[in-house]
């Protein structure tokens, strides 16, 4: 139970820092911490084999999103 509270506290901390930070390149690592925390929280909330699939799908999807934003921010190229 403590693990879930730790993960939720880290998630809200990372979300606030990602919003406060101005530079896009330094915003993305904070958003990445938020993605880690939410993917962990999904599995801790519901103990079911399919929640592992949900966490992995969410994590890969949000990584792809960060990858696309960073590539476009760098000035085009492979997406």
């Amino acid at each position: 139970m403590i693990a879930l509270y730790v993960v939720a506290a880290i998630a809200v901390f990372a979300a606030l820092r990602a919003i406060i930070e101005k530079n896009t390149g330094r915003k993305l690592p904070y958003a990445n911490v938020l993605n880690f925390a939410v993917a962990g929280a999904l599995v801790l909330l519901l103990d079911h084999p399919l929640s592992l699939v949900a966490a992995a799908t969410y994590f890969v999807g949000s990584t792809l999103e960060a990858n696309a934003i960073a590539s476009t921010y760098a000035g085009g190229g492979k997406r």
């Binding site: 990602a18 896009t24 993605n35 999904l42 999807g61 999103e65 934003i69 997406r79």
Partner: protein, 76 residues
């Protein structure tokens, strides 16, 4: 779900929504939309709708990529 956790994840979703409305930079807006989805997803999983959660987490990045195409065309 426990009330403290509901408040925490609801705070994340609200902060994402408010910052998406207030931030002027277009990349910052997209990051805020990602934060909004991250706050909403634990509520879907807590009710047990795991298939809905999988579908949402597949659709959200695809929507972001489509918006990025428009952002890139606007910058040129």
């Amino acid at each position: 779900m426990i009330t403290a956790l509901e408040v925490t994840f609801g705070l994340i979703a609200l902060a994402g929504a408010v910052s998406a409305a207030l931030i002027r930079d277009s990349y910052g807006k997209l990051v805020s939309l990602g934060i909004l989805v991250a706050g909403v997803l634990p509520f879907i999983v807590d009710r047990g709708y795991l298939d809905v959660a999988i579908a949402v987490s597949l659709i959200a990045p695809i929507a972001t990529i489509f918006v990025l195409l428009a952002v890139r065309r606007e910058e040129r």
